[in-house]
Symmetry: C2
Subunit: 405 residues, 2 copies
């Protein structure tokens, strides 16, 4: 028998209990031993529920109980999660977490500590909800040098952008609908401003390149400036606008950013819609692979957490090597990053077009039938610095969206 | 240092050498030790090449060398691969293979033997080329009961079907082009008749349900009967025709088959085109996940083989548990399997429609503009047995394709 403790009986925590309840038999078979939830740490009581007798309010009971071998941290936030997790590892317990803030900030340190203590720190659920991505990156793509990792990493924004694309509604209406359906929080900032995706791409980049990528260093742009008019252009271009967290080798460096980008049907993430997430990886020998699934939700996320518990249980006493050095990876500035740019101009006459042509060279006008008094064009590939310089010389730019085709 | 031997210096074997050459440094870092190719078994000599001195013609040299800890079997075919692999395992060596025939036929036995000998039998590359699917099934989806696993598992047929769909060409032209591009063999039977996909879905089903699924028991239908006219109907329905290997729980049993099926844009496999493969998995708690990538090709396949070598190297002396019992899973007959059926009728008059309506109930006519003298309809969901009975009463059925929407 392996005794585990769950820290936090919120959405994911109760999901973990549910998954162990629904699939306990086959899970125990895969572990080779029975998993027993001994404690659940929560501020609240849950009288009259089946977990009533497992609830404790004092973490010391858990961390000082030598019978507890695996701690499941699903509270979220950096503190007190970080202190709790660190203490658990120091006491020789493995930890499985869904907490992206914790992993992005302290992943390297907690992995090093786990190695030292011959336990495991596992965090499959911190990125992409149920989608297996952390373990494939660590254990399946080991023959490759990763050249790029790009994902639709936030289900809320993907739902909003899908609504806007398919129904032509504006940002506010799509957000409101997402809130009504429970896909977006009342304060949606962390999602729509890209902060959530930023932490996730920081984690993926650290694993892909084996060194610490600080989320604070990643240029992050959300979707609140995207309008229904942008989608009319996207449709005209057979493209979709997606919030991408992306990190790729450019020259000798790595450039990471979170921003809305246009992709077309040739991109594997093009058909990742609604609340689904998708993560695209390009390796130097494997080529392109993509992982797709529910990026959030109680049971999918809990499924990933429990899969980590199974792994921790199968590796008691052995550390699974994960290469994520605490040495910082110096990202190249996005100014040096190259792509094409979709640019909307809020005037539409020959003089303006001549101006654009003078600055950006030959270009093709993009103009949806039902858009008046403006037009757009897509630049040749150029660095962000070059684009900024050219754009500064051009008046009336309504919006700019990076293009990945 | 870990000494390995490669059996077979064909496409995949030379790819393995190339991958270890290109990414050796980082691969060694991930292993925590250096991987050294000590022998390559092949009938031919390769004078003047860097591997010249590693070539041996006698397997006994390899299997009797106690320094060899991992054997890479990339010869293909059941024999002599099976005898070689079994002997290696009996001698305490781990085996990594890309050989789907071997794994489909002897997977359960070789896994059991590996467990007994505390070595590993790994076969990531046997299904989906480079796509990580075997390891995710074994180690990531461990919290779930798998309800369905469905894949586009053969790149050759997917290329042909994509050509037919996008360019409106007939089967023979598309096959010819695939052969010219080297995607299809001169004798393309194993691909186009679905035999290759059949072995792969047998392996995936065995792993998903933990029991032996014999490929001989899987109903298999290829794509050679699909015509350009079928694709006109598919287009009319906003659907695509894909060769799917599929296995899913139906009632108390599991039904497996390989057949061309129509799917629409709601299916995650809809946008898996050209030579790419995709594998869709539905779990009872994780929901839907999908894995996408190059299903074949020298380097992607070699990438998966080398990832297995890394795993074997990291687990010397420990068996990684894989649940695939030799106990046979009794598949339910496809006669009991339910879906909708797309049916083309080679007549087009009111009398015929009345006949269809009498037998199949109310139905909607599907009729592309440029198709004359015939029409089609899609049935309600029914079992294959029911369909066969009804279809027998109807004359002039030109073709039937199963529908997954």
């Amino acid at each position: 028998m392996v005794n585990i403790a769950i820290l936090g009986y919120g959405t994911v925590g109760s999901g973990v209990v549910e998954v162990l309840d629904i699939n306990g038999d086959s899970i125990n078979k895969r572990c080779g031993k029975e998993i027993n939830i001994k404690y659940i740490l929560d501020l609240k009581e849950f009288p009259g529920t089946p977990i009533e007798n497992k609830i404790v309010h004092d973490y010391n009971i858990i961390v000082n109980d030598p019978e507890i071998q695996v701690v499941v941290e699903v509270m979220g936030g950096v503190e007190p999660a970080y202190s709790f997790v660190k203490e658990a590892i120091l006491k020789g317990k493995s930890v499985c977490t869904s907490n992206k803030e914790l992993v992005a900030k302290h992943g390297a340190e907690l992995l090093a500590l786990s190695k030292e203590k011959k336990v495991n720190f596992l965090f499959e659920a911190s990125v992409g909800g149920g989608i297996p991505i952390i373990r494939p990156l660590n254990q399946s793509l080991t023959a490759d040098e990763i050249e790029e990792i790009t994902g639709i990493l936030n289900g809320t924004t993907n739902y909003i952008l899908t609504k806007m694309s398919e129904e032509g509604v504006d940002f506010e209406s799509a957000l409101k609908e997402a809130q009504e359906k429970g896909y977006a929080e009342r304060n949606p900032e962390a999602d729509i401003e890209g902060y959530d995706a930023c932490r996730k791409i920081a984690i993926l980049s650290s694993l892909a390149f084996g060194m610490q990528v600080d989320f604070e260093d990643i240029y992050t742009e959300g979707i609140s400036q995207i309008t229904d008019i942008d989608f009319k252009y996207a449709k005209e271009l057979d493209a979709r606008i997606k919030l991408l967290g992306t990190s790729r080798k450019e020259g000798e460096g790595v450039c990471a950013m979170v921003a809305p980008m246009m992709i077309n049907a040739n991109h594997p993430l093009y058909s990742v819609n609604d609340v689904f997430n998708g993560i695209f990886v390009r390796g130097n020998v494997i080529g392109d692979v993509m992982f797709y699934g529910s990026g959030a939700g109680k049971l999918p996320t809990a499924s990933a957490v429990v899969a980590d518990v199974v792994d921790a249980t199968k590796h008691l006493g052995t550390n699974i090597m994960t290469i994520w050095s605490s040495k910082k990876l110096d990202l190249i500035s996005i100014k040096e990053s190259s792509h094409r740019f979709f640019v909307r101009i809020g005037r539409d006459n020959e003089e303006t077009k001549a101006e654009v042509s003078k600055i950006f060279g030959q270009f093709q006008v993009v103009k949806p039938k039902d858009v008046m008094g403006e037009f757009a064009f897509i630049t040749e590939p150029m660095t962000e610095a070059e684009y900024s310089e050219k754009a500064a010389a051009l008046k009336d730019i309504v919006s700019m969206i990076r293009v990945r085709f």
